[in-house]
Symmetry: C2
Subunit: 465 residues, 2 copies
């Protein structure tokens, strides 16, 4: 189905203009005032049309534990999280639906789901998330989260001898699993891509990284990973490699233009130069970096070094939401406290570019996505500028990025298909989803993680707390 968006406000170089836009098949076919009508007419009056943003790092099934996970740093938080992770593919499906809906209604048209796999039901887990994303119609980049070392190994040893349970699945079996997932689900032209996604150096062997590099080369897959999210990981890199994790990942060849790296909080200046040189992308997850006390990523330095930066919500147990506009706002203004020269601060227009084109770049799709250009895929969002939270009228992009927009997404198209209209997702029954999420959960406030008890003393010791 084709569309003609009439009289929408679009951003020009440093102003706005009112124009019409043709969406034909999957693409933006024309942008010009007073186009002839083709297909369905959309009234764009008093609405702002922007390229869709990318929610460039999340873990959808964390939605089941949002609001409840203790105020802990990553290593303990993750330990608690894993103790209570639902082992149920139906729940994975529902939380992927929820993640997609919240992403769409906050301006995102793509989501990168670093998906936690249920042991023994790995392909079913992926299948459940893929089914949800296809039903909603969001463009999805499913990055099955893999590791080959047990969770407790993610805490540095310090001067203590530590032993860890062996991981339950071999590196080889894990790589076979990912290759099978690629064969089954990697269909970029249908809006579903599989990424190789070792969780991070803290829990993955070189063999796992290298196997992922091979799969990436063989199937032209993008690469994803957590990187240096915490001080503990910084210590661990030195313990494991005797160098920084960035130096090591460069050395083994993991970093390239298809690689996106979540967090990147604790990098040295020479690490930053490596990211620039390898054209890697930093996915900034400001809210989880605050919630977990990980730190403030040196985003202004990245930008000055020419490193591509985009935004993610991160999983909704560490945020605890999937509101991409919130992540963009905080991920933009947070850095003003890190540099007294305000001429380096991120402007709202720059934030929009980071969230759209920056996201597309990190997924090796900058030629197809991320800007309002004729010939690109029609992944677009139309915002209602008459919404109270965007009034009085001033600078539409300033209001969108620096304000707290509520219910401002009027329409969304992904690959030319309209999946949000009049502020409602049209592809699934969101009220039914709400009922399911409600029925399959309980209000509960007290839970104790036995695993946290087992590691907390060592964690505090080694981190000097």
């Amino acid at each position: 189905m084709d569309f003609t968006i009439k009289n929408a406000l679009i951003a020009t170089k440093d102003e706005y203009s009112t124009t019409d836009v043709h969406l034909v098949n999957e693409n933006i076919a024309a942008i010009s005032p007073q186009l002839e009508v083709v297909g369905t007419v959309i009234n764009g009056e008093n609405k702002l049309l922007l390229p869709g943003f990318v929610n460039a790092h999340t873990h959808s099934s964390e939605m089941w534990q949002r609001g409840i996970t203790s105020m802990y740093p990553l290593e303990l938080w993750l330990t608690e999280l894993y103790d209570f992770t639902p082992l149920d593919c139906e729940k994975v499906y529902l939380s992927a639906l929820g993640t997609a809906v919240e992403t769409l209604l906050s301006g995102g048209t793509s989501v990168v789901d670093h998906l936690v796999l249920i042991p023994g039901q790995e392909l079913e887990t992926i299948s459940s998330a893929v089914r949800a994303y296809k039903e909603v119609g969001i463009r999805a980049f499913v990055a099955p989260l893999i590791q080959d070392v047990s969770l407790s190994a993610g805490i540095p040893s310090g001067d203590k001898q530590q032993t860890h349970e062996p991981y339950f699945r071999s590196t080889e079996a894990t790589l076979e699993l990912i290759e099978e997932a690629v064969r089954l689900f990697h269909k970029p032209e249908e809006g579903i891509s599989i990424l190789v996604a070792p969780t991070g150096m803290q829990l993955c062997s070189d063999a796992l990284f290298k196997g992922c590099i091979e799969l990436s080369e063989k199937y032209n897959l993008c690469r994803h990973s957590h990187l240096l999210e915490t001080r503990a990981q910084e210590k661990l890199s030195q313990e494991q490699y005797g160098c920084t994790a960035v130096e090591h990942l460069k050395h083994i060849g993991y970093l390239d233009y298809r690689t996106s790296l979540a967090h990147c909080v604790h990098l040295t200046d020479s690490d930053i130069a490596i990211l620039a040189e390898t054209k890697s992308t930093v996915v900034h997850n400001p809210l989880s970096n605050l919630r977990l006390g990980s730190g403030i990523a040196p985003i202004l330095k990245y930008r000055q070094a020419g490193v591509n930066v985009t935004f993610g919500c991160d999983g909704s147990s560490s945020n605890d939401s999937q509101d991409l506009l919130e992540a963009i706002k905080i991920g933009s203004i947070l850095h003003n406290v890190t540099d007294v020269d305000y001429r380096h601060w991120i402007t709202p227009r720059e934030s929009v570019t980071m969230a759209s084109l920056g996201g597309a770049r990190g997924l090796n799709m900058a030629d197809k996505l991320g800007s309002l250009d004729v010939g690109k895929k029609a992944d677009l969002v139309l915002y209602d500028l008459k919404n109270l939270s965007l009034l009085p009228r001033t600078d539409p992009i300033g209001l969108l990025v620096l304000g707290r927009p509520i219910n401002v997404v009027d329409s969304v198209w992904v690959n030319g298909k309209q999946i949000v209209a009049d502020g409602k997702v049209t592809t699934i029954d969101v009220d039914k989803l709400r009922e399911e999420l409600f029925n399959q959960s309980q209000w509960y406030t007290k839970r104790q993680s036995e695993s946290v008890k087992a590691v907390e003393t060592h964690y505090r010791y080694v981190m000097g707390i």
Copy 2:
């Protein structure tokens, strides 16, 4: 009109219980399961009842410039802001309505409006804001913003000789104006209180502070002020007083249990001890402190020192919203990056207490407001826990504080009067407000502040940029 809220979830010491609540006249009359019905029945099922929060520092008329003010530090930002401030009481009225609506719909039942006065129309400005707050029915603390030194004096001199225009109104005339405002508008029993509110040491003489202290004593008024928001103000204190601003304010007697101080970013440990000793309240405005690059206030230190802390949105040109839940979330998680010991981090329940009882304390109303106790004023908020943004069910307060709640406020009572029902403000026509805000504004993106040009070179020099 009386109310019986049936089967609402309320927070107990560290759990929840389901109960009924009687609101009789202006007060919470009973809290107990299975109360007999009096007055109107409100279905509290699957809803969370909390005491209303206080938006403890804002400047309502900044709403006219939200989204547009440049990415500048406070001193330059304020210079630009003043160049474009609307000088129109009708606009003041509308932005006070907007501020009240956004505050209510994000859990606030009280607002402290550090109100910028239109020169020559000072009482009319106050009257316009008071009219708006009375119409909406929010509890309002109007703090007319006064100064007796010109704006440019707020930038430190450094080693340069600086001259500043004399302020257009005498200190004495300003104090008379405030006293007249007290006589006309200070009616706490009707929900409108006037505060004395010199803008801050950077723009106010000792005579102005002392006059405000006298008025505070004479009429039992609360005291408000900005305090040490920026590094520039820290420098300026030393230039002006040869000591910190806190030491000076203590010396002249401004600090007491009725004093609330916005920002408090750049305080020494001994300053913090003074705030604790004088029982002053810190109003934390995390979003504007980030947006303006002011810094991260040492909130965990305040809490450890026993200083009362509550939250404000600050004016919506420096935020750029009046979403109190956003300010509470960011004002809570931001500090996790300032202390590696997670046992000091603020929990969601602590955030709720800070936002409600902490706010009441700062306004010398802790005996009447800020908690769900029989005998206190019925300033209450009922949240819809079946809202998608609060699902799946986990810990309701965790979801509310750490999530990104959208449209979750179901009902609000202020002084026993219901002013929000089914998520809608019932006292004013919000659609009409939207139309007015739309019609009285323009989309514009380019504006140049001549005043910024005049001071920027000196600002950069003196701040070492």
